[in-house]
């Protein structure tokens, strides 16, 4: 391993809160080993040093919200052998995709004193809508262990273990009691992608859907049940319109209840 050239890794930021990059910095115990096996060539959140050239792995955080960024992502794609998007913003448009449901100029006018200086696209879109993405790692923020797992899997040529089944499976393997059945707490677990180790249900909270839709999500059935246990249309809209608001299954479900 040591004789081989270390793969070059770059981290890129688009419209985001930097939380996913921080997950990487958060890998305190593993960071040194990480640096042993990977050359971190570009990681603005960690260091200003930049090594140019072709990157073996690019981690992309954030969504595309400006025309400048829509250009920039193509450059990055050209420089990257493997491009991995990390987090809700990069994989689905993020919380800022709430603008996609309304007229963005309204927000701009509300927030900025001189809206004429703001140049922004109407929609916040995932990286996948712009360039080919090799792998998507979900979460808001991503789970650091999953990030290490993906990098480790890539380095050693195996398939990453990041199952796309429900949060319920992690929740029940952990031995948690179902908060929805036992406490009547609305929970998005049954339609949400695993990866957080069932964080919220482990503390008796309902799942917020931070990891986005799971494989084959049956959101309509869950929404129906939520209402049976007391949720309003507005509750359902707000639940699905969170960090993964613009992910297709969640978007459709929120829109279905908005009209009612």
């Amino acid at each position: 391993m040591s004789r081989v050239r270390k793969p070059k890794l770059a981290v890129w930021k688009f419209a985001s809160c930097d939380g996913c990059q921080l997950s990487l910095l958060d890998c305190e115990d593993e960071l040194l080993t990480f640096a042993e096996v990977i050359q971190i060539a570009n990681f603005p959140e960690a260091s200003r040093a930049v090594i140019h050239g072709k990157y073996d792995i690019s981690l992309v955080e954030g969504s595309i919200t400006t025309s400048h960024d829509a250009e920039r992502i193509h450059k990055i794609r050209r420089q990257s052998k493997i491009l991995i998007t990390i987090g809700a913003c990069a994989t689905s448009g993020g919380i800022q995709a709430l603008r996609n449901f309304t007229d963005v100029s309204r927000y701009i006018a509300m927030v900025y004193a001189n809206p004429e200086y703001i140049s922004s696209l109407n929609k916040s879109t995932p990286i996948r809508d712009h360039v080919y993405v090799d792998f998507e790692l979900h979460g808001c923020p991503i789970n650091k262990y999953q990030l290490i797992e993906v990098c480790s899997a890539l380095l050693h040529g195996r398939a990453p273990v990041t199952p796309s089944h429900s949060v319920c499976m992690e929740c029940k393997r952990k031995g948690n009691v179902c908060v929805m059945v036992a406490h009547g707490t609305p929970c998005l677990g049954p339609v949400t992608h695993a990866g957080c180790d069932a964080l919220c249900p482990s503390y008796n909270r309902g799942c917020f859907g931070c990891y986005g839709p799971k494989e084959t999500p049956q959101t309509a059935s869950l929404a129906k049940r939520w209402k049976e246990i007391g949720a309003t249309n507005n509750d359902v809209v707000r639940a699905f319109r969170g960090f993964y608001a613009y992910a297709e299954p969640f978007r459709k479900e929120s829109e279905a209840h908005e009209d009612e």
Partner: protein, 377 residues
Amino acid sequence: METKSKKQRILPAGEFNVFLRVLQDAGYETIGPTVQDRTIVYDTIVSSSDLPAGWTDEQAAGSYEIRKTGKSLLFDFNVGPHAWKKYLHRADLLLWRAKTNGSGFSIQEEDDSPSKKAFIGVRACEVAAIQKQDKIFLKSQFTDSAYQKRRANTLIVAVNCTKAGGNCFCASMNTGPSVLSGFDFALTEILDDKRHFFVVEHGSKLAEELLNKMPKLEEASAKECALVREKMNEVSENMGKEVDTKDIKQLFYDHYDDHIWDEIATRCMNCANCTMVCPTCFCTTMEDVTNLTGTEAERWRRWDSCFTMDFSYIHGGSVRPSDSTRYRHWITHKFAAWHDQFEESGCVGCGRCITWCPVGIDVTKEIKNLRKSKATV
């Protein structure tokens, strides 16, 4: 309960701690029902004060609640969200580790020496479930060594249900409400105006030895034994649910193409909760992981579910990509294919899949619907 030649004895409820002590002194960690997070779950118990005295549960499709009864009964409830499989057939199990030394590698079996555990309050359906998993892991062509070690270190203190839950149908599945085999101890809790006691039956040599370590327990009278029988008949009559099991295997095999599966798929979220809480569901997946430097690898075995896409993945895709066929696979396996595989049903009638389905899909109702539906072959 059928009266066997074995003597039944009376354990006053006040002496339940003495009983627990005997088990603990014999080296067993005692595990039983406790109240946690507004549910009754299995956990380590030290004394009878850890038991849910005065609590009962109310279960319906997709709902579970506990409430105070005002009585002092210790086991006045049915089964909770956890099956005993969490102790015997672990949700996450490290099978082995491997290390590389350049070109080669060596594999080290995980040293796994489980402690002795006494399961307190195992219900008839749960004993049946353990026996079904025994059949898979111990009595088929291959033995599962991790399960075997745990099972060999397990003592079963069964408790007959003296109340039937809203989602119970063990009577239909012929697994309860009375515990008839597969136990070390079988207790029936009785509370009348004057007395609160357990009728105790032992079902193993080990249990007999342990009983002998107790202060002498009086023998149950014919009247007391009759009281137990009466109670059990009453429970049997009051099952919350029912399944007609006549020709049930063929019923499923005749309905592979039924439209009913598509309808269920509009409700079923394929979240896999039913399979996680089911005490007989045994499926697992293997996960191979490495450290970052690639010098160490591990293989983990974890509970898996036939509701996931990966479960039936062969190169090219999932064999059962439709939600409808994944539900169909699960229920058909449980009620039909299991008969072909293990010569019995895979369902014990505990009702957990009904209670813990977040949207309350009720297998007993679906089976009724299936019976009404015309076979489309």
